[in-house]
């Protein structure tokens, strides 16, 4: 049986990303480990309270020898343009989550709107990643 463990999001600064994903979005720290023998590689994951088995890995864009300078530059550019990653989040109340996150300073690209599949809105993390927040429509009846 295959399940989802974590999915990776490139971030331009792990401290800033952690601050945003915890304080602003309301996720919790799952793992934060820096390994000196791996050139201070930092394994940093966050997850939603109450959903212990799925996490987002906040990954710094590495330098050489993991990634050459040119490639790193390209990833940074793609990220700044919003094309380096997307996360689709769900909520039980999109409008309430929207208001709450806005109060906490989250920058929204789209306000909540009715869609065929529910209500959703979209915001960006400090790196420029696109985050969509959906309240799925309940499918009831036969």
């Amino acid at each position: 049986m295959i399940q989802i463990g974590s999915a990776q999001l490139w971030v331009h600064d792990q401290d800033e990303a952690l601050e945003f994903w915890t304080k602003n979005v309301g996720m919790e720290i799952r793992s934060d480990v820096t390994v000196p023998e791996l050139g201070n590689f930092r394994w940093l994951t966050v997850g939603a309270p109450g959903q212990p088995d799925v996490a987002i890995t906040l990954m710094a864009i590495p330098g050489p020898p993991v990634m050459d300078e040119q490639t790193a530059k390209e990833v940074r550019a793609l990220m700044a343009k919003g094309f380096a990653g997307t996360i689709f989040l769900v909520t039980d109340d999109c409008r309430a989550s929207y208001e709450e996150l806005r109060r906490r300073g989250v920058e929204f690209a789209e306000a909540p709107e009715e869609r065929p599949y529910g209500i959703d809105c979209a915001f960006r993390d400090p790196s420029g990643n696109n985050i969509r927040l959906t309240e799925p429509r309940e499918i009831t009846g036969a």
Binding site: G26, E28, I29, S31, V33, T34, V35, P49, P65
Partner: protein, 144 residues
């Protein structure tokens, strides 16, 4: 039914403790979220869930702190603030009373967080691979 809706409000307060424990929340905030007066809230919470809201919030924070001690290399003081507690002294006292060992001893009873962390092999290999070094080609201007 009145009782059902009241318990729903109590659950909302408990959800707040579970979801936002890392903020400086207190029992007053939980009571407000449930729409109860403070004294009435504590009594009703205990009736519904079998323990006081203060105990619930504290043990949630201690549970989260224990996970951070196992899964991160953050300092004990940092973890205390990470779970929404304000005083390192009372954190250490509560933790020791609950788990039977101090936060530091608790952490020491587990493998090092770096060994415990489930860092995928591809990342270990990518980040552990050394940069190529040569003796002759490295610039060493001071060498004759």
């Amino acid at each position: 039914m009145v009782f059902v809706s009241r318990d729903r409000d109590l659950l909302r307060a408990r959800d707040l403790a579970d979801g936002r424990y890392f903020e400086p929340l207190g029992v007053d905030d939980l009571a407000r979220a449930a729409g109860f007066s403070r004294a009435h809230f504590s009594r009703e919470f205990r009736r519904a869930f079998g323990e006081s809201p203060h105990t619930y919030l504290l043990t949630r924070r201690l549970e989260r702190a224990a996970a951070l001690l196992r899964n991160t290399d953050r300092s004990v003081a940092r973890i205390c603030f990470d779970v929404g507690l304000q005083s390192v002294g009372s954190f250490t006292t509560s933790f020791t009373r609950t788990y039977g060992v101090s936060p530091t001893a608790y952490r020491a009873s587990f493998p090092r967080a770096a060994d415990y962390a489930q860092i995928p092999t591809c990342l270990l290999r990518a980040n552990g691979r050394p940069r190529n070094r040569t003796f002759r080609e490295d610039a060493r201007p001071s060498h004759p």
